[in-house]
Symmetry: D2
Subunit: 165 residues, 4 copies
């Protein structure tokens, strides 16, 4: 299973990245095939025809499952992530299953993934069959929210549990 | 395949109903198993413990696929539909696949299904893997929007085409 | 100043009502002129031409400021409140200033007022110059959230503080 | 009256800019005091401490009225605009009145301003008393939508008509 994590945090090596990797691994039993750190693309996302952006885009198109991960900035996903999503034509990701993952400093923004990130993913063609996942930055790698979500999401995505899970 | 259409139009025998039936049939090759006309439940939705409401709720829980259909009132789904959705606990419809269908008088409200109806369906546990479908009231049963959506939705829902489709 | 509180809780005498009254009083220095308990209108909201509904609608049209208050059901405002909002034509409340107030059991739904209730109020013509206010049911009448919001909202609404506030 | 237009189109000298200038002029009778072309800031928005970004931010803080304008990309405002909005702390623009303006190729995305842009402006503290304005790219400078919106918005913003309007 070709799983890609897209990390929309302007700072590299973020908890957003770690959480995206964890979610991919918890869902499928293995780490993501590819991690796209949008922080590394940076200004190239504002230009046309950058080869690194094209390669990142290709990875997403070829994926079976994409975890789109973002910190919560101003009650929604980051502008950096949006710049990347704008690389895709409307409907271009038809056939790609996606998960919306957001991290936030406080629970008050927990609805942001469902109400703001999933609609954009849908617009570019992704299928988002699971609820968006919101994790507190202070407890992103633990807690009942993650466990409960993983169990339900695996069921919806029809991913079989593996030994050890 | 047990398919249920939930019709949130306050007037019975509406185009909303006809469109919900058409969408179910276009998706699966057969009419919906059950059509729930919320207009017939009416005030019972404001009470606790009404047996007709309980039966409608049971039909939805038992369905493999539910088409939730609503006209667009004030740029979103109807209060009547919301009263019915409130009968379900958060997450209660886990395991149910749902389609959000809205009809509107003008294209200006086309985003309402994606931005307002799908999040509520997700909250009660439904999986909504397809984009919301918005149909103009004046052309609900024809037009390229419906055809293109059906083709993509069948693909996402992994429903095999039948003879004659 | 003619201030109306519209209470969208299906149960009368709710904390939603108490919070709406408190917000009106904190904003203006006096209790609301009129409180509309939608729970008392109930099934009449599903009919056309009910005189009690017409009177409630008239009160809202005549108000200078309306506090629309709802508990959070399924991550958004109630169907009961939506039934009342559907009584108004698009833009009919032009000239009316409105405040969106939601109460919820947990902070996870704090964005619901801003993302779901304010857009409907805008559709029927209300001007919503303040942020939506979300109050925890367990602490609706106290806490820094309310105080901070009141101070800012009075400033935005250009309401002068009175003695005692 | 100090009016600033913030233009979130990645291409400079866009119809988005022209529309933002027109809206400012139609509202107040004079062109905007300052136009901020985010396309000119570009990659600087991805860095910390850029002086041109700081100057743009200062212009917005000092404004009486800000027109935030964006083309519709993937059914919502641009990532470029979001990068700029992220420069402000939550609530930092308290006291600033803002207008949300979006241009789109087709009417299907007309709700994007109300449902996606206004909530972000509210998060950073702006007061958005008017409905969002959506203009078709093909008719941005004419048509009844603009005229009707201007008339209502001036009323809500309490701007007196001048001779010639």
């Amino acid at each position: 299973m070709n799983v890609v994590a897209v990390v929309g945090n302007p700072k590299p090596a973020s908890r957003t990245r770690a959480a995206a990797e964890l979610v991919a691994e918890r869902l499928t039993g293995t780490p993501p095939t590819t991690v796209i750190e949008l922080a590394e693309l940076g200004p190239a996302l504002l230009e046309a025809g950058d080869p690194a952006v094209a390669a990142a885009k290709r990875s997403v198109i070829d994926a079976d499952l994409v975890v789109f991960a973002s910190p919560t900035y101003k009650a929604t996903y980051t502008g950096l992530l949006k710049l990347f999503l704008e690389q895709f034509a409307a409907g271009e990701l038809h056939g790609t299953t996606a998960v919306a993952l957001m991290l936030g400093a406080a629970p008050q923004h927990a609805l942001a993934g469902e109400l703001t990130l999933k609609p954009v993913l849908s617009e570019i063609g992704c299928s988002c069959p699971t609820p968006a996942l919101f994790l507190l930055e202070s407890a992103w790698d633990a807690g009942p929210d993650l466990d409960a979500w993983v169990e339900r999401a695996r069921d919806v995505l029809r991913i079989e549990p593996r030994d050890g899970w």
